[in-house]
Structures are given as C-alpha cells and as structure tokens.
Symmetry: C2
Subunit: 315 residues, 2 copies
Amino acid sequence: MTKMTLNECLEYLNDNDGYLLLTHIRPDGDTLGSAAALCHILRRMGKVAFLYPNPQITDTYKPYVEPFMAPPGYEPVTILSVDLASENLFPEGFSGGRVGLCIDHHPTNSEYAENLLCMPEKASCGEIVLELGKLALGGIDKTEADLLYMAVSTDCGCFVYANTKPDTHRAAAELMEAGADYKALNKRLFRTSTYSRLKLEGLIYDSMQRFGPGECVSVVTVTLDMMAESGATENDCEDLASLAGRLAGNKVSVTIRQLEPKLCKVSLRSGEDFDSSAICALHGGGGHKMAAGCTIPSDPDETRDTIVWDILEAM
Amino acid sequence: MTKMTLNECLEYLNDNDGYLLLTHIRPDGDTLGSAAALCHILRRMGKVAFLYPNPQITDTYKPYVEPFMAPPGYEPVTILSVDLASENLFPEGFSGGRVGLCIDHHPTNSEYAENLLCMPEKASCGEIVLELGKLALGGIDKTEADLLYMAVSTDCGCFVYANTKPDTHRAAAELMEAGADYKALNKRLFRTSTYSRLKLEGLIYDSMQRFGPGECVSVVTVTLDMMAESGATENDCEDLASLAGRLAGNKVSVTIRQLEPKLCKVSLRSGEDFDSSAICALHGGGGHKMAAGCTIPSDPDETRDTIVWDILEAM
C-alpha cells in the first residue's frame, strides 16, 4: 500500500484509464456526490469513467448520480473507491477485484487499496475531490459543483454537526461561487420529507417518554405497528436515532426499533459524560461512548424497561 | 438622515458614549446576537453600553444576552438600533426618543434614524458587526464570536435558507476561528426542542392532509386542543408555518392556527409559480408571492375547506 499526496494521486489518474468508481454500502451524499464529481472530472480529463451501480442508492440521490452509472457489461481497467474506509463496506454485489486507488477522509481507513489518498483533516470526501478538480483542470464546472455541494453539505448535516470545520464553510462558499444550485439542493436534501416519514415522525414524537433525574433520559419507540400505520419503508427511516436527542435537558437518548414482534434494535446517544457503549455491551452490543447500539430479544415495552433500568443504574 | 460607511460608523461610535442598543420586536438571534456583540465591542472600546431590556426575549437566547441588559434607571445618551428596519418594529415598551444610529441589512429600512449604516448585501446584521469589530479593535474576542455566530447562523437557518451567501459561510469560518463554540451553539439553536414542542410537532404531522392534483396542496392544523394536549406555549410555536412545506411534491402549504374557537390564522407558503398573496387577499390578508397570511372567522375545518377551495380554483 502506497500513501499518496494530492499531486501523486493526480499523476495516477492521468496515467490510468477505464475507471470504475466504488461507493460504500448504504451510500450517503458524500460517497455518491464525491464519486460522481470525480467521474465527471475524469471524463473532462479525457478518460472513460463510470460509477459502480450501487444497488442501495435511495430516491433522494438517484437523479444526481444515475447519469454516471456503468452500463451492463462495462469492463473496467482501474478500480477507484471513494469515501470507502474498509473492505467490509464494499457495495452490495461487488466482487470485481483489487482497488487501485482509494480516496478517503476516514482516519480509520484500513489501507486495503494499492494506493491511498487519505485526508482525515477534511470533514468530507467532497472537499478532497474539490482540491483534485482544481489541481487537474484549474477549477470545477457546475455539474461538479452541484455534486460536491451535495457531498460536503450532507456529511455535516448542512453545517450543523460537530464535524463541521472552518474549511468546510470555505469549501461551501467556493462551491456556491462555482455554480452549485444550493437553494434547490438544500431544499431537497434538508427540507423535504415523504408523507410517510412525516407521519412516522409524528407517531415517534407522540411515543416519546422521559425518565430519571431531571427527566434526562428520553426514549422513543418505533414499532412495527407505527411503520404500518405511517406506510413508512426503510427509505423513510434515515437518522431516526437522532430524533430523541432533540429533547431539551436530554443526557441520554434511547431509540427502540422493533424488528420482529420479540426483537428490538436499541440505539443510544449521549453526551461526553455518559458511556453509551458500556450499556450496550451489557447486551452484547457496542459502539462509541456517545453513540452505541445493541439488539434485545424482547418486545418494545420490555426492551424499554430493561435499557432504562441499566441506564439509571449507571448514572 | 445620513447614510454612513463602515468607517464613518466607527467614527460615530468613537465620538459618542452612554449607549443604549435597541433590538426589534419579537427578537431573533440576529438582532440579539448582533446587538450584544456590538455592546461588548463598545465596552472594549472604553464606552458605557447596555441593551434595552426587550421584554420578548425567549428562553433560547436569554443566557447569552442577559449580562448586557441595562439596569433599572440607566439613562442613555446615545441610542443605537440593530437589525431594526422600521419604527413599527421598536421593542415593546420603548418610548425613549430619537435613534442616533441604525445598523441594518434590510433593503426596506425606513430610514427613521439620524444616521444609517445599511448593508443589504449581507445575509445577517452579524456580518456587519463582525466587520465593525475588526475595524475598531483589529479583531473580535471569544464572547463576540459566540454572539455573532448566533446572529449569523440563526438568520440563515444554519446555512440552509435561500438567503445564505458565499460570504455567510466565510463569516462563519472566521467566527469559528475566533473561538465561537459552534458545537454547543448549533446543538442549542438548531437541534434542541422542548418536550411540548416535540409533542406539538407530532400532533401537527398527524393532522397533515393533502389535496389537489398530485396531492400538491398540504394542510396542517394547530388547534386550541392540540396546544392544550401538548402543553405548548407561544415559546414553542416558532416557525410552525414551515413544517407543512417539508412534504415532498408540495407546491402550496397551508398552516391553520386556531386562535379562538371560531377564528383562525392562515399562513400560506408556495413556490414561485403560485401566488400565495392573491389567495390571502381574498380574505383581507396579504404578504408576498411565496409567503402570505390572512385571518378567517371560522373553525379550523371550515377554514381548511374555504382556503383549499380557493387554492384549487386558482391552480
């Protein structure tokens, strides 16, 4: 494995051809926007380049990335991966061999590719591709600006998440000046929900309960009945685990998702002063201190009682 | 009325003293953050400066601005106003005389003050005060950075609204580097809701209905019963009219707020291809093409039927 600089990476892209770009499993705006923008940059450099047709792309992103999908039978020469930190995150159905170059911003990158350009100081891969585009072609065009604005803005929740940095804002400013239609993109990516999603959110807020000292433990439940009542599908369930954390005064938030009548997935979120992963470890799960998960073979009510008891014991 | 440049404005601030800073009625993050930051800058310039104790400051902003409130009996010499576009927006209870200098970014400023620094190219007043701070003292300190981040970020909905500009992002980057605790501020300002607000949102989403071709007219209702059931107060009702517009495929969104059993306030939001103000004008109301309002002397169900009929007729 060779670690590359931006300049070495550009040399590699110049020297090779016949590209297939991989995005990660359960693809988000950063992997899709960055890969599609890089694909467009490669084409402007005179290369043949396509995206691997990741089968899990959601409706939100499809219109932006479909024009870049590899046609059936495309035989790539060089495989690139974008925002893809380790081999267990390869997209579903991919078994196409060795990755020539990985472009990533995760400090945990497992170094599976022959060559790696990793810039963990960037909040998004989109910011790396922006630098590459400027280096390769002296600047990006409107299509790339749209795709990279999608990449940068989604990875920081429209500049609200803690991973947002001063340079994230500066990249956004640059992308807007390069023609990104940020008004339409912001509306579509951050201010639009399906009817089912809104109905489901309504039911979730209605189910919200509070426990513990100062009612600092909030619990929401997503039951199979609520999914049926709202008509929600997996497409509508993105980021549900963040809803309970919106509650003022909250220290630990619990999201219980019923998978089967007697099987629940539990997601915990907390501040720095509570160890969510220790609670989840009690039930064979794990994660990080501020975000962890586990699975409990009970119905939602029993699951709630169990987890809330564990949390109050640990406080 | 004299229009001032940034430099002339600074000269004015240097030449005068004994400041009282006015914020506008129903104060938001921009008027409060900008005024409090300017107050702090003035004090660092060696001046006596206080904020007018605006009685409508909500709990979200109180902790940030209370340290700057004028004590009872404070007798100002020079009155400033910040983000306050016209005299009918003066804060409740103010009758203290002529405003010496107004600092604003609204192109509609009515020029009521003796002197005016108006920069309509700025998305927020916070960006003007940032420029003033740099000019006056060579830079801003952490307190001012926090207050100005609050001002800048709230006026563009954390960089999601259409008024966001490349320079808004650059101002945010600068404020973060000057020490703004953007993580805590983002969490408090954009990711925290009261229990009552979340319960009310749940009831609102549950009440959502769709009408018309492609179900492009969405209607939500906020009844007196829903207010009672959720325990919501006026503090919890900010920006309710934007919720219905989140629905995918939406062209016109209607928010009906029951004020009395037989009196409803109607808020319309639409895209550029539908004239909301024309519909509201039918009922003695008005506003802009994309955002308008009126009041109808009926119960929520009748109000909905009336307005939806008017909208479908106009389509």
